[in-house]
């Protein structure tokens, strides 16, 4: 899944969406600025792509619910990414408020994808509340630090059944996306790593390949790691006497 923020220009956005092969992109809602003409971002998103409107700006469940309802009123679908943040330094999500918003919005028929800090209790509560997925952060939004919360994401992969686990935030390179997929994560959402790359469409394609590679590796059951060597060539019939 691809975020649409931070692109230097809309042409790069369209090219990146196409190169990535994604079927879902995120957008945000903001007050219009009547003083100046603005592009219609939807024109740069190819037809057939599912729009996932985030609730960025929401500081609590009530505000997230308001944004989701506004998004649905636009007629662009009922998929919503719940993003409830009230700290501007780390942009960490408020898990408790996210659960509250999910309960309300899932009951109203929204397809809810909540963005959270990886916490098993929160994830279980979200599944119970009707979330369509859980989206634990890899690391801080925009930080490109990768899977800093890897082991806590692994717990969700192991324990959460029934809904996809999608790593969202902090994925800074295709290798990190592959790493997540190899662990059994179902999808990743990236924005900064693509939008701010030298060649966004190139990076988007790289992500696509990495995600497929990681998924195939997971399905093919990677062998375990070992702390000691295990020879790859036979230990008998050596040419040289010991």
């Amino acid at each position: 899944m691809l975020g649409t923020g931070k692109f230097r220009n809309k042409t790069e956005l369209t090219a990146s969406i196409k190169a990535s092969g994604t079927e879902i992109v995120t957008v945000a809602l903001r007050r219009i600025d009547i003083e100046r003409h603005e592009d219609n971002i939807l024109e740069y998103i190819p037809e057939g792509i599912t729009l996932l409107t985030n609730t960025s700006g929401a500081r609590n469940a009530r505000e997230a619910v308001r944004i989701a309802r506004l998004a649905r009123e636009s007629g662009c679908g009922n998929w919503v990414k719940i993003e409830v943040i009230n700290d501007s330094k780390y942009l960490l999500p408020d898990n408790a408020e996210t659960v509250k918003a999910t309960e309300i919005l899932a009951a109203e028929g929204f397809i809810v994808l909540p963005y959270i800090s990886p916490d098993l209790y929160t994830a279980r509560a979200l599944v119970e509340a009707g979330a369509a997925a859980v989206m634990p952060l890899g690391s801080l939004i925009g930080s490109n630090q990768g899977l800093k919360s890897k082991e806590f994401i692994r717990i969700l992969v192991d324990e959460i059944d029934g809904v996809p686990v999608i790593v969202d935030a902090g994925i800074g390179a295709p290798s990190q996306a592959a790493e997540a997929m190899e662990m059994g994560v179902d999808a990743v959402l990236a924005n900064t790593a693509v939008a701010t790359a030298g060649d966004p469409a190139g990076i988007a394609l790289a992500f696509s390949l990495a995600i497929r590679a990681g998924r195939l590796a997971y399905l093919s059951r990677l062998p375990a790691g070992h702390s000691q060597a295990a020879a790859s060539s036979p230990l008998t019939g050596f040419l040289f006497e010991p």
């Binding site: 975020g3 923020g5 957008v27 945000a28 009547i34 219609n40 971002i41 939807l42 729009l51 636009s74």
Partner: protein, 66 residues
């Protein structure tokens, strides 16, 4: 007459309906969602909704985001 538009005070002429106001002020062809005094107003009702003194109007649309 004065309304609050997106949090800022704005004088408007009387008897303006929401459809006319939005047509005059929208800044892009993107879908606009209107919320008047905390209530979402569906498209179909815009031409029947007349703005009153002191109304708080929010006009919202899509932008890029993660």
């Amino acid at each position: 007459m004065e309304i609050l538009l997106n949090g800022k005070r704005r004088p408007i002429s009387g008897s303006l309906d929401l459809a006319a106001f939005i047509a005059r002020h929208r800044n892009s062809p993107a879908p606009v969602v209107a919320e008047l005094n905390g209530e979402i107003i569906q498209n179909e009702r815009w031409d029947r909704t007349v703005l009153k003194d002191g109304d708080a109007l929010e006009l919202i649309s899509f932008v890029g985001g993660g």
